[in-house]
């Protein structure tokens, strides 16, 4: 496994918020169960297992079975959280996710851990940068990508109460809590992290706090950047995208994912059909070379400086 990133003050691993929240929920609702593929440790479910040994089903290294079992548990009246490394959960078991969860419409919560390029040097087999594109067409799966610990806890609570399939995509990369006043988690609604009028940066997950830093760089140059935290990829907040297009005239999307078919693709689909404006998509163009997470972010411009550069480019593409 990849070495954990150096601990930074005020940065938190969202898996801790997930683990705390699922334990709290399970205390109060006996229907909540966890299903894993030998992923108790990487899902941080050791505490859950200690408290509820009979409610953690470890099917071993068998993802197709794991997702099918999730559907069956829902048929039997349980509320299963199926938790595994995002790359194997969505990749190995994609047909089960499609047929048993999305098409059958079972009340199953899929939790993809250590998504994006969090496994760094372990390489593209262990990265999960294709999951947005694979799951977006399965439009009855609500797809949530929390940006910080607070949002992770809220998303897990919401998923437990919601009747229907959900995919929650978590990272293992520590992120700071976003400084937004009076937050309320609303699935399907973009969160306005910062107001702005020259360009809109639409980001999700680990990229949101970098977008906030980019906005500060841009502000120093007199550029006013709006930041939207697009925590829900499906259903997409099309109204917020339309407003961004018409009010700021240029958009940058930033995701820890493949740029084909993900958040950027979704935004470009919407704007090209409705309000065509320049859209700069940031992410990974395909399989990435060997490198640490930090090196990969830097190499592909997923830094405050890189995002600011894309914002200037998007603004430069605006038509007179």
């Amino acid at each position: 496994m990849a070495a954990p990133a150096a601990k930074q003050e005020g940065f938190y691993d969202c898996r801790d918020a997930w683990a705390r929240t699922i334990e709290e929920l399970a205390e109060n609702d006996p229907r909540i169960v966890a299903v894993v593929n030998d992923s108790v440790g990487s899902s941080k479910l050791g505490g859950f297992q200690k408290k509820f040994p009979d409610r953690l089903i470890n099917v071993g290294i068998a993802e197709q079975n794991m997702v099918g079992v999730g559907a069956g548990l829902a048929n039997g009246g349980r509320i299963p959280f199926v938790s595994a490394a995002a790359c194997f959960l969505t990749g190995r078991a994609l047909e089960q996710v499609k047929a048993d969860i999305a098409y059958a419409g079972f009340n199953v919560k899929l939790v993809g851990q250590s998504s994006g390029v969090a496994y760094g040097e372990l390489g593209p087999t262990h990265h999960s940068i294709e999951d947005f594109a694979w799951l977006r067409p399965l439009s009855n799966i609500t797809m949530v990508v929390p940006a910080d610990s607070w949002e992770t806890a809220e998303a897990v609570k919401w998923a437990a109460a919601h009747e229907g399939p959900v995919y929650i995509r978590l990272s293992r990369m520590p992120v700071p809590d976003l400084a937004v006043e009076n937050r309320k988690f609303e699935p399907g609604k973009a969160e306005l992290v910062r107001s702005g009028s020259d360009v809109t940066i639409i980001a999700c997950g680990t990229m949101v706090h970098l977008a906030v830093q980019a906005a500060a760089e841009l502000e120093a140059e007199g550029i006013s950047a709006r930041i939207l935290n697009m925590a829900t990829i499906t259903p997409l907040d099309e109204a917020a995208i339309s407003a961004a297009a018409s009010e700021t005239g240029a958009i940058v999307t930033v995701e820890e994912a493949n740029i084909h078919g993900g958040l950027g693709g979704a935004v470009a689909e919407h704007t090209s059909a409705n309000l065509p404006v320049p859209v700069e998509r940031m992410g990974f163009p395909g399989f990435v070379p060997t490198g640490s997470v930090e090196w990969l972010f830097d190499h592909f411009g997923l830094t405050a400086t890189g995002i600011a550069r894309s914002a200037r480019k998007a603004i430069g593409r605006k038509r007179g």
């Binding site: 068998a62 197709q64 079975n65 099918g68 069956g72 548990l73 089960q96 059958a104």
Partner: protein
Amino acid sequence: MLKNDIVDTIRDKALWMRRRAFTMVHDAQLGHPGGDFSAIDIIATLYFGVMRYDAKKPDMPERDRFIMSKGHATGALYTALCAAGYYPEDWLKTYMQPQSKLNGHPNRNYLPGVETNTGPLGHGLPVALGIAIAGQMTKSDYRTFVLTGDGELQEGSNWEAAMTAGNRKLGKFTLIVDRNRLQQGMGTEETNGLDPLDDKFRAFGWDVEVVDGHDVGALFNALSEPPGGRSKPLCIIANTIKGKGVSFMENKASWHHGVPNAEQYNTAMEELV
């Protein structure tokens, strides 16, 4: 009901199902009649001899569950659910027509009584396993039955589920394998052989019974829970004949998704009495 009466009832229902399923396939000029006919005696035994359910309350938590993993054999499943009272016979006339609830593979959101959506092979056993685990966790007494084809067991997901079921000692979990020895193009043993299938399941921690899949008395006995229950999951290998009941269809792989012309249909109806 005495056992002989039950067996007679099952036979009557199975005959009706064969005639009705073949009519659906004839009318739609679509379907999988060979696999329908190998499975019908098994499904009729479950619905009209063994399972506990109330067609008026399809979501009753304590119902026994039946998962049709070989989802393509919809002629067998849809006629069984109709005969069990889940929906009126009129619905069968819409089989595979535009916007019908009777899709080419079953959808639980379209039809009461369908427990999960199947079609891609190797999905039913893991889902059924999850249902059985839920029952074990909640100490419910419902039973979970799943019917797979035999060729379908070439899918690895089945063996992932078989391992888990054996390890969890799921005594209320029953798999029936429709062992007609033919897949869509040719024999299972010529394709990627399954024998010895009984030893495979025993090695995975299951009880195994081998029965004639068209002897409804034998099926009834094998599917009935023994006094005191079981301490392991049960695999019933039901030796069947693809196309069973119609002379020109029996043991012919071409009837996997073959459909009858008018003359073949009439001949079949004369034989199915």
